[in-house]
């Protein structure tokens, strides 16, 4: 996906064509809902050079994703967005949503998304009603009311892109690509319109050499977001091949397909039918079963939990997930990072040592 346009280019192009931009924060929401209103959701995961302007408003134990998002807002990096969308993923993001009430000018709506902390029909019904409420907010904002058929078409486009992402994740480790290049391609889903992502992803799948077996020791990468990206280079250099992904920004959004005739029910079923995720409060037993199944299918020998420091949803699950994987003979390594900083020398040493124990 060498020719993939940058975020800046995509935003400029979308605005030129008369569309609006929504800055969306982690993790789960419906891209289709925004696209039906000609609003392009561009996700902000807080990484990169967002600076530390957000620190003044947050407790020291707030994670670097939230600090990065707030810094991006305070330094004007999100100025192209006409609205913000804040999924209530964790306490910190919920807190950020409240802070935005004070820090975002009134002309720029801040739309929260409340996610059910459960599964089953009641959770789907709640999610669907939540999406309906957001539909009403967007209708009020844009003055348009897409029909059910419009919504279904938008969902179809996203499903097509999701199926391409799923194919990429299925082949992860067997595509002859450096890990950084793979994630750059997979994560372009965070800002590319679905149709562009699907086309670029298909091109990547068609043109990339495939290996019979992964080049290195097969590992599973879990966590929120693979940043700073040096971690991916370090894994490559140490002789690891990421063959299974459980990152919140990628593998945990390998959403289910749904044929529900009600577009809101369909969107809800897709989000809630995705892989079990700590940020949706899914039971740890289901998380573990999912990771074990992924590890078994891809013959994973080690799982690396690359966690954002102070990420509570992840931290609560980690001990049981590690224990369960270790009992199944899969070595685990937990690394904690501040995504705004370069990874420490100790992190490189731990990765190399893990690979040495598997040599």
């Amino acid at each position: 996906m060498d020719s993939t346009p940058t975020r800046t280019q995509v935003i400029a192009e979308h605005k030129r064509s008369g569309g609006r931009i929504a800055a969306v924060f982690p993790v789960h929401y419906s891209r289709a809902l925004f696209r039906a209103f000609n609003i392009l959701p561009v996700e902000v995961w807080g990484g990169g050079r967002t600076g530390n302007a957000g620190d003044a408003h947050l407790q020291a134990y707030t994670c670097s994703v939230v600090r990065g998002v707030l810094s991006a807002h305070l330094t004007g990096m999100l100025r192209d967005a006409e609205l913000y969308c804040v999924p209530h993923t964790c306490d910190s993001l919920q807190g950020l949503g409240s802070l935005f009430l004070d820090l975002v000018d009134p002309g720029r709506p801040v739309i929260p998304i409340y996610l059910p902390r459960d599964e089953g029909p009641a959770a789907v019904a709640f999610m669907a009603s939540e999406l309906r409420a957001i539909y009403d907010r967007l209708a009020e904002l844009t003055g348009s009311r897409p029909s059910d058929a419009d919504l279904q078409r938008a969902i179809d486009r996203e499903c097509e892109a999701d199926s391409v992402l799923a194919a990429m994740l299925e082949l992860q480790g067997r595509l002859a690509l450096p890990a950084r290049a793979f994630y750059a391609a997979a994560r372009s889903r965070e800002y590319l319109p679905a149709e562009q992502f699907a086309a670029a992803g298909r091109r990547l799948l068609e043109t990339t050499v495939r290996r019979e077996e992964p080049a290195g020791v097969p590992i599973l990468l879990s966590g929120i977001v693979p940043e700073p990206e040096e971690i991916l280079d370090q894994l490559d250099a140490a002789g690891a091949s990421i063959v299974a992904d459980d990152m919140a920004c990628c593998g945990r959004r390998n959403y289910a397909m749904s044929t529900n005739s009600d577009p809101f029910g369909r969107m809800a079923e897709q989000i809630l039918g995705g892989p079990p995720d700590s940020t949706r409060g899914v039971a740890v037993e289901r998380r573990l079963a999912h990771l074990l199944s992924l590890a078994s299918a891809r013959r994973v020998r080690a799982a690396v939990f690359y966690e954002v420091k102070f990420c509570e949803p992840e931290a609560f699950y980690l001990p049981q997930l590690r224990r369960g994987l270790e009992e199944a003979g899969i070595k685990t390594l937990a690394l904690e990072v501040d995504i705004s900083e370069r990874p420490s020398h100790q992190i490189a040493t731990r990765i190399e040592a893990l690979l040495e124990t598997l040599a």
Binding site: E336, H345, Q346, T349, R350, A353, E356
Partner: protein, 261 residues
């Protein structure tokens, strides 16, 4: 002196150690000096001093580099982490499985070693200096004592002041407050060693430590830390003959093993 047939270079954050070993894996040459800011040049200079190993042209025998500066050696040499190297060196020296605690200048590591000398599990401190040799260096220097004398003071004290911080910066500040309150240096020293021992013991428990306990790295020379670690973990600690050289020794053994393969 027997001929050096393999070399291990441990470029640590505080000291750089080189070891040359004979065919039967015995240390026949060794050197240790404080790590210089120009680590690459230092490593090249030290490698050139090894007797009969190639002089300024560099060693003609296999070399394995480890430690912080391992990536600064010539790319023709192999690099292995200090976790694997310390485990290899200590296993060969003590000839036992168990749990190795390596307290270096900037890292503390707990390494669980299996019956074949392999690394089963490991835990390592985060990037802050708490729980490392640097912690004691800073607090000892603040007391105008050497690390060894500061440890002796700790062991001479029947009393112990509770230190709540293992953060080097906050512990130093807490220590100054305790001195101002009139506490004896000896009891403060014991409290500081206790705080460090508790932190390392917690790391050991998180790695699933099993007996026997062993120790390597510069921290192994600290008698107070050793005694309080034994107290915290409820088991005796066994020491190799040259604990501080175990990383370099393990690296040399791996170089020898690779040459034989």
């Amino acid at each position: 002196m027997s001929t050096v047939v393999a070399i291990g270079a441990d470029a640590g954050s505080t000291t750089t150690k080189l070891v040359g070993i004979s065919h039967d894996g015995v240390i026949v040459w060794e050197t240790i000096e404080p790590t210089e800011p120009r680590m690459r040049e230092q490593l090249e200079r030290l490698l050139a001093t090894i007797p009969g190993s190639g002089g300024s042209a560099g060693p003609t025998v296999p070399v394995v580099a480890t430690g912080y500066g391992r990536n600064l050696v010539d790319t023709k040499h192999r690099r292995v982490t200090e976790i694997t190297c310390h485990a290899t060196g200590v296993y060969r020296s003590i000839r036992s499985s168990g749990t190795l605690i390596d307290i270096g200048g900037q890292d503390s590591k707990v390494i669980v070693i299996d019956a074949a000398g392999g690394v089963v599990n490991f835990a390592m401190n985060d990037k802050c200096a708490a729980g490392t040799g640097r912690f004691l260096e800073v607090v000892a220097a603040r007391m105008r004592e050497s690390v060894q004398d500061f440890a002796a003071l700790a062991l001479s004290s029947p009393e112990e002041v509770a230190i709540s911080n293992t953060c080097t910066v906050f512990a130093e500040s807490e220590m100054v407050s305790l001195l101002a309150q009139g506490h004896a240096i000896e009891s403060i020293s014991r409290g500081l060693h206790r705080a460090l021992a508790r932190r390392v013991a917690s790391l050991a428990r998180s790695a699933g430590a099993v007996a026997p306990l062993m120790m390597s790295g510069g921290g192994a020379h600290n008698v107070a830390l050793r005694a309080l670690l034994e107290n915290e973990l409820g088991a005796a600690i066994r020491l190799p003959a040259k604990p501080q050289l175990m990383g370099a020794y393990g690296a040399a053994l791996l170089a020898l093993r690779r040459a034989a393969a």
